[in-house]
Amino acid sequence: MTDFPWLLTMIAVPAVGAAVVAALPRGREETAKQAALGVSLLVLLLAVLATVAFDAGGERFQLTTSVPWIPDFGVDFALGVDGIALVMLLLIGVLVPVVVLASWRDEPTGHRSMKTFFAWLLLLESLMVGVFAATDVFLFYVFFEAMLVPMYFLIGSFGGPRRQYAAVKFFLYSLVGGLVMLAAVIGLYVVSAGELGEGTFAFDALRGMEIDPGMQKLLFLGFFVAFAIKAPLVPFHTWLPDSGAEAPIGGSVLLVGVLDKVGTFGFLRYCLPLFPDASRDLAPYVLALAVAGVLYAALLAMGQSDMKRLVSYTSIAHFGFIALGIFAFTTEAATGAVLYMVNHGIATGLLFLVVGMLIARGGSRQVGDYGGVAAQAPLLAGVFLVAGLASLALPGTNSFVSEFLVLIGSFPTRPVFTVLATVGIVLAALYVLLLYQRTMHGPPRGVLLEPSPETSAPATGGGGGATAATATLEAPPPAPARLRVRDLSRRELAVAAPMVALVIALGVYPQPLIDLIEPAVAATMSDVGADPAGVSPEAPVEGTD
């Protein structure tokens, strides 16, 4: 079972699926949807089977495949996963089918066929699997950059009104980061040629090198900038609100849920083990950025009137927490950070999805255009609340475990930063509840208001919108305002239910995931010179009497 090329299959299946979906004749949208769902479910199955095949206590990298690719550069097509990468693959496996299902009936704004949408989505899935599964730095870089292209098209072709601006901004930001990283990747190779006699990109070989501290700093910065743009840390973050807001909902979910995790994953996988001295030296600065992000983005989230922008800003705050966990250099915090990566994907993914469902009903992204939805769509409101609570890391939801681990693990080594970040949990409660109260609570109002009966009759014709608008001006205010909003449909329930279930399940019993993650985190911590066994208490514990 372990000999089966799981990872290669997980890359190949969606790629082939994308090609097949793209090659479908025009007008076969239904087939495209079903094929995309089937393929993504197959990948989920593969991810689960791969997890079964993975031995948590075994070698660091498992399920490995390695083929020489560009011998001239010393590049291998080398795949393999540790626990950290594996849980990310599981996250991809879960999110993509959900996204496919959520995009089932999306009316694309660009009049483009959904067939193309699903083809890009599957291609994106393939590349996302690749980026987490690569154990060759060059290969990682290739996937890292190639991933931009499908996302760029998803935003640009299927996004909101300012999609062109958002797509270009996304592409250029990421590209700039990627190019800076490219310099570092090449530098790493050159260094490895000096250190090891022969240039290589193999992660395991690079990990063992002793690099000159000055060089380490340069290379670290090269990688760091790329990752800090990807998993936006303040001040590299301004692309995310635009992209998150303009992307189609499915795109936003994958963008924030998975794509941006490559950044934090990169911190942990590449920055720390490859440049341990530089990581230690520069950690205070990174932590300052991370904590600044937690507070700054949370405050900004409160100031947003666009729901998708708001959720994007919350993600920036969450990325601050993840970075805090990674750069605190304790096993507890880093395990929490990895768990956070998964949980944030689920929680914020759900939040984006449910915000998308609301937007699908009202056609507006403005918070102010909604109100009192809970009274008539209790299921929608309930899912919204669960997503919001997960976002503010309420105990019992998955995010709590990870946020708690990050903070409790960071506190022993970085008390000041941790205390500041902990203040962020109040702000998190504020932005979530403000959003929830404004949209779901209160008297009915906003774009979903039912037009009064006498005006709805003539509006059956073509330009209903205009007629209704002019009519409401003349008509007396209707006595009991009601919203014209339907509660979640079966399809939407099928989207939300597994996510809600995961939110609760991982909130109550996260230990299986932690068991997967911890060995890899511990290995990383010993690379960076921290005690892999975790924090040792400052005061001696005497036997309890």
Binding site: G303, E332, F411, V426, Q437, P537, A539, V541, D545
Partner: protein, 631 residues
Amino acid sequence: MDTAPADGLITSAWLLIALPLAGAAVLLLGGRRTDRWGHLLGTGTVVAAFVLGLLCTLQLDGRRLDVDLFTFVATGSLDVQAGLLFDPLSAVFVLLITGVGALIHVYSIGYMAHDPRRRRFFAYLNLFVAAMLLLVLGDNFVALYVGWEGVGLASYLLIAFWHERPSAATAAKKAFIMNRVGDVGLALAIFLMFAQLGTVSYDGVFGAVGTLAGGTVTAIGLLLLLGACGKSGQFPLQAWLPDAMEGPTPVSALIHAATMVTAGVYLIARCAPVYDATPTARAAVLAVGAITLMIGAIAGCAQDDIKKVLAYSTVSQIGYMFLAVGLGPVGYVAGLAHLLTHGFFKAGLFLGAGSVMHAMDDDVDMRRFGGLASRMKVTFVTFGLGYLALIGFPFLSGFYTKDAIIEAAFDRGDGWGYLLGGIAILAAGLTAFYMTRLMLMTFFGRPRWEPGVHPHESPSVMTAPMVLLAVGSVLAGFLLVVAFPLEEWLTPVFGEPEAAEHVVAPLVVSILVTVVMALGVLTAWLFVGRREVPVTAPVRVSPVTRAARRALYADAVNESLFMRPGQWLTRALVFVDNRGVDGAVNGLAATLGGSSSRLGRTQTGFVRSYALSMLGGAVVVAGALLAVTAG
């Protein structure tokens, strides 16, 4: 004291939490199918939990038993087990929560009978009971924290139950946020314990408190106190509790009077080993208690909303409890006893207030009440008993437990002891004043009802719990202090009670308190009972009254210190982010674009200028090469 693994029925103590939780899950997931019998299920699970809790308590026999469930989170050196601790302290709370909870569930069947969302109400109530039980049963600080925030969620859901009302939605949010501020303190305390001791279990932490530096223990104590203040509506986080009265009245009774708000007292009592080691933090608890005691009592005197009066009263009474537990070993039992009796009479008072509101078409303004004593006999009698218990009428519950606290305060023996005792006695007088005012305005005098209001007694499903609670209000004090002393029951937790050296004789204190109480009642009668109560509140009042009406400007302070600056900050940051951070990037792009078009102008299209640029380039190249060679 050693912790032993649970045996017998207590091994299934997890069912205490699981039962109401399952009830909540069934009701929430079951949807409309469960509408018909949902309230019965909800009530049934809590009653079952009460019975189970009672049986467990009977088996307990003063032991400290641990129920290990599963590994919640274990990574690195952090090991958090999901486990329950069943000891005399938690048993007391289990009985209070499930007992009062069950009564209030029964009451709610009637109170919410006509609400289309009754099923969901019971689901939330069940959720609350489950979370609250987790809070008191957890055997480590993380479990406590989970329950802690869980009750916060339930409280949020229930305050916002009528969420179409913007005031309810806002009150719920306010409650959650202010609680979260406290939660930060609790969380930081847990982080500090882990960093210092490497453990978060009660046993581990309490066993090793002695090894910690004094400053660290004080820090932990203060942080825990912050958490307690948030949950219990104590100064400076007291402002949310009166607003929380926006929720349905049973909620106010159960959550915002009897149980959840007392969690802070539980926390401090549970962490007695920590506070025993830090006089500084204990002093802070005392200060918080005393200040809140007065704030609540003063604000309670000027409210016209019947539930607000009770809410401020709750704030004030919990202040008593904080004062008590802040006194250290001598006060823990006194504080907890008052907590229990308060649970009975305040729940009873709220249920009575609910009954009154039920009769008055959900009006809460006492200025439009009056003369209800004859129309609602059961309510009047039960409410009256609760009232007497609260103001400390001799030989009713409050008399025993409040006096004990005041005695304990005097027993400090120093000047502070007299000050605290004096404050407590003064507040007792104020309590008598505002509660008498409430009684007079509601039940006596001339009816001032709105047209169309026809007060009537509530159905028996509502009055029965009120009667039971009234009985409790009358007897609880005697039972807990005299008949079956709580002190003995809790000895395994807090150790043998020290023989108290009374500075002021208990009898003197009792007489003093009773006299002050009588003065309060008298004053209230002079101010309210003798005159006609205006239907609208007078505008021209003294600054003291104005301040009391606005609860000593707590909201104003919060608004001007946090909310408005926060809003400005947010607005400023949005501007900075759009214009500054994003602007810098866009500016860079614009600069590039601008230089592109400016540079593009050099591409004039004239061959001769191209040739010039080439010649210039050649000269530069040659010059540079020569320079390099020469240099």
